[in-house]
């Protein structure tokens, strides 16, 4: 919990500083826009967090978002599918790809980094190919207004993606921190062998984390497609896997596995977005955007590590 309090404090300080320097930060338009983006990014970041907790990594998120966005556009505008079917399809594809990752990693003992790196290249290529490398938009079609509202509408002034994130976060919090499955995720990430000796079906647990990551990526992919209102296969979702990893790590997930929390991932996501926002609002050259993010993640994780080393020394010094 200490970790979450630490980065939450940092988040509050950054918001206060930005708002003080440029009051536009607290304007309704800016806040809703941020909430909207936090919603969309937070959903896939939770997925990345789950995978990282098992000791793995998922680099394919951004390309998956491009591919499933493109499939959604094609299904709705060119193949004229009913929207529930199109949405189900746009969720089923990333889940299936996640299952493939999981099987390659657990059955064939491939490294998660390699498997999902190949996914990153492969899905991007497929997305561009099926779209003939052109941007496809939703246009003015009427037959999927409900889906459009669910993805990009407002509810009592709150952007839908933000509300969807809150619901998903609550469900995933229960799953990760209160369910048997969540406990197995942590156990497998910490010590797969000991978990296996305790009768945990470790392969299934690990593979399912990639399927869940696929589902969550699929949901945010749909949201992003409606947010941009058109999908450009070569740029949609670029670098999103890195946002997800950065948010998860900043939020306390360890790439060694077995550590992390839903709350941490959420705060991490928000922190990264506020940083981007801060760069714009404070008139910092926008080319420094990534540099600022990188520096903050680095310092954050470094501070955490130093703190951890100190406290483990303290334990060692305790008289027996």
């Amino acid at each position: 919990m200490k970790k979450e309090i630490g980065i939450f404090t940092l988040l509050v300080v950054l918001c206060a500083v930005t708002g003080f320097e440029n009051p536009r930060f607290f304007s309704e338009a800016n806040l809703t826009d941020n909430a909207n983006l936090i919603g969309m990014r937070g959903i896939f970041s939770i997925g990345v967090g789950l995978v990282i907790i098992t000791g793995g990594i998922d680099l394919s998120i951004g390309s998956m978002i491009a591919l499933n966005g493109m499939l959604l556009v094609l299904a709705l505008t060119e193949w004229h599918w009913a929207w529930p079917l199109a949405a189900a399809f746009a969720l089923a594809v990333p889940m299936f790809l996640g299952l493939c990752h999981g099987v390659l990693i657990t059955r064939f003992k491939m490294q998660p980094f390699i498997v999902t790196l190949c996914g990153l290249l492969l899905y991007r290529g497929i997305a561009r190919y099926i779209a003939h490398d052109t941007t496809k938009g939703f246009g003015e079609a009427e037959n999927f207004k409900t889906l459009q509202y669910l993805a990009s509408g407002r509810f009592h002034g709150f952007p839908m993606p933000f509300l969807i994130l809150i619901v998903i976060a609550i469900i995933m919090w229960v799953v990760l921190h209160r369910s048997v499955y969540g406990r197995y995720l942590f156990a497998v990430g910490r010590n797969e062998e000991a978990a296996r000796f305790s009768g945990v079906n470790t392969r299934w647990v690990i593979a399912s984390a990639y399927v869940l990551a696929g589902l969550l990526t699929g949901i945010s992919g749909i949201l992003f497609a409606f947010y941009t209102n058109s999908v450009s296969p070569s740029s949609q979702g670029n670098f999103y896997e890195l946002y997800g990893i950065a948010a998860a790590v900043l939020g306390g997930c360890s790439l060694r596995g077995g550590e992390g929390s839903i709350l941490g991932v959420l705060i991490g996501t928000a922190l990264l977005l506020v940083l981007e926002n801060l760069v714009t609002l404070l008139g910092i050259d926008s080319s420094l955007n990534f540099a600022v993010m990188g520096a903050v993640v680095l310092v954050g994780v470094l501070a955490d590590q130093i703190f951890k080393n100190r406290s483990s020394k303290k334990i060692a010094r305790q008289p027996k």
């Binding site: 942590f186 062998e193 000991a194 978990a195 305790s198 009768g199 079906n201 334990i315």
Partner: protein
């Protein structure tokens, strides 16, 4: 003219926390002499050799090389004195070629400071040829057999001008022909003036090539035999005969024989060998044997952790199918593994989380953990096993070895075992905690469980078991009833000798 021996160790003592590994041990090795070191598990053979290899420093005693007192204060120093140590687990880099392995850390360099590739291969070749190895110096080590990799290690030793080569159980993972080739090589090297000190459990091999056998027992010199004097019986007599305190407590409950039957369990370590035995409800069946006899692998095969397709397991008259770990657990067959920290516990998790890990599904509804119930179970085990911990939310890595082992037991006792397999249950645990674990095992057995205890500690095996099954090279070489549970009988069976006191593992 009096020539001093190549190496002399005098009055070496070495203690580790809780144990005296070596007590006033002396050893002499002449030039070109092959000395075999023999003794039970834990007799101090490896520790003595590690002192020579610079891995451990002795607490007392002196080491003389060529009659000059020396201090071997590290691995480099040991190499400088012409001592090469070939460990049981080979220290080779599979991703590099033969030449690179032989000259690792001493690579010849050319004018640009890069590795002189021509020279390194040219320099390696004579050593390879001297060992009669028919391989290119450009072969990657992972493409060689274990025996060939071992030869490369010997080549490296020779390239360092080693005058004494120490080998720790060099033949334990070799085939028969490879073993014979190695023994021939040992004779050849000794003919060339290189001394060899080697640890082995295999009396036949010692007979073939050792000039002298030195026997250790309980960290002390137990005697030595020249090649001519060596006989199987004399060796075993020297190895055994340590003073063993008796603290056996017999069963109180009733036994029901044939409650648990294992047939044809096999493992990857000894493919083709099969283990079958019967165990009674209410008894503690000890499994003795030398390191590498395949006892842990048998335990893993029974628990579904290792693939053993032909095995048949009968529990309480019913044949049960165990293909994966969960199957064993669902039938009440639990394993407390040898390697607590790697296999028994998730040490970064709390006592509570570790105790509940295998049983979580029993007290969850709709996949959600009943946290109050979880805490209750953990607290119950902590208090009934008297685990010394600040609380159930303490991470297991902050507990002592004995308390960690109790947490492992707590995991399984929370689920009422039918068959509890304990692999080296008291390794690295202090005396007080040991006694508690023995008492627990007895209580479990009296309560109607089958206890299988694998142990390399002779005192433990003899004092805790109601019967002892002794394993040798992947098979049970005999089972001893309580009256015949004597160290000598166990040792005879452990080295593969048939004795009349032993019963077959399965009565048909």
């Amino acid at each position: 003219m009096i020539t001093s021996p190549l190496l002399e160790m005098r009055g070496i003592s070495k203690g580790f926390p809780g144990v005296k590994a070596l007590d006033n041990v002396s050893l002499q090795i002449g030039r070109g002499e092959v000395v075999a070191l023999c003794g039970e598990n834990g007799a101090g053979k490896s520790t003595l050799m590690k002192i020579l290899g610079g891995v451990h420093q002795p607490d007392a005693g002196e080491i003389l090389i060529d009659g000059q007192p020396v201090k071997i204060n590290g691995v480099t120093a040991s190499m400088k004195f012409g001592i090469a140590f070939i460990h049981q687990e080979l220290n080779v880099l599979g991703n590099l070629d033969v030449a690179a392995n032989v000259f690792l850390g001493r690579e010849p360099k050319n004018a640009f400071g890069l590795i002189d590739s021509k020279k390194i291969h040219a320099d390696t070749l004579p050593f390879i040829q001297r060992l009669g190895l028919n391989i290119s110096t450009r072969t990657r080590l992972d493409q060689l057999s274990i025996a060939q990799q071992q030869m490369v290690e010997i080549a490296k030793a020779l390239s360092l001008n080693a005058r004494l080569i120490i080998m720790d159980e060099p033949t334990s993972s070799l085939t028969l022909t490879e073993t014979n080739r190695l023994l021939e090589l040992v004779c050849e090297l000794s003919g060339q003036g290189v001394s060899i000190a080697y640890i082995s459990h295999r009396l036949g091999e010692i007979d073939t090539c050792a000039d002298r056998v030195v026997v250790l027992r309980d960290g002390k010199n137990a005697g030595e035999l020249t090649h001519e004097e060596t006989s199987h019986d004399k060796l075993v007599n020297m190895m055994v005969g340590r003073e063993i305190k008796s603290f056996y407590v017999g069963p109180k409950g009733t036994k029901s024989p044939g409650f648990f039957k294992v047939r044809n369990a096999s493992s990857s370590l000894h493919p083709g060998k099969k283990v079958s035995f019967d165990a009674a409800r209410g008894e503690i069946l000890g499994f003795a044997g030398l390191v590498g006899a395949g006892r842990s692998e048998m335990a893993k095969a029974i628990s579904g952790l290792e693939n053993s397709p032909q095995k048949e397991i009968v529990l309480d008259g019913k044949t049960v199918s165990i293909e994966k770990p969960r199957d064993a657990i669902d039938h009440g067959i639990y394993l407390a593994p040898e390697n607590r920290r790697a296999e028994g516990l998730v040490v970064e998790m709390t006592v509570r989380e570790n105790i509940s890990l295998p049983s979580l599904e029993n007290f969850s509804s709709f996949g959600l953990i009943n946290r109050a119930h979880e805490r209750k179970i953990a607290a119950e085990q902590v208090s009934s096993l008297k685990v010394k911990t600040p609380g159930i939310e303490t991470k297991v890595l902050n507990l002592s070895g004995g308390n960690q082992q109790k947490v492992v037991l707590g995991k399984w006792l929370a689920m009422t075992p039918k068959v509890m397999i304990l692999d080296e249950p008291t390794r690295g645990i202090d005396v007080g905690a040991k006694a508690e674990i023995y008492r627990l095992m007895r209580e479990l057995a009296d309560g109607g469980a089958v206890i299988l205890m694998i142990s390399s500690d002779m005192e433990e095996v003899l004092n805790v078991s109601d019967r002892i099954a002794v394993m040798h090279e992947g098979e049970i070489s005999g089972v001893l009833e309580r009256a015949d549970c004597k160290e000598e009988n166990v040792m005879q069976l452990a080295v593969g000798k048939k004795i009349s006191a032993a019963k077959p593992a399965v009565n048909n």
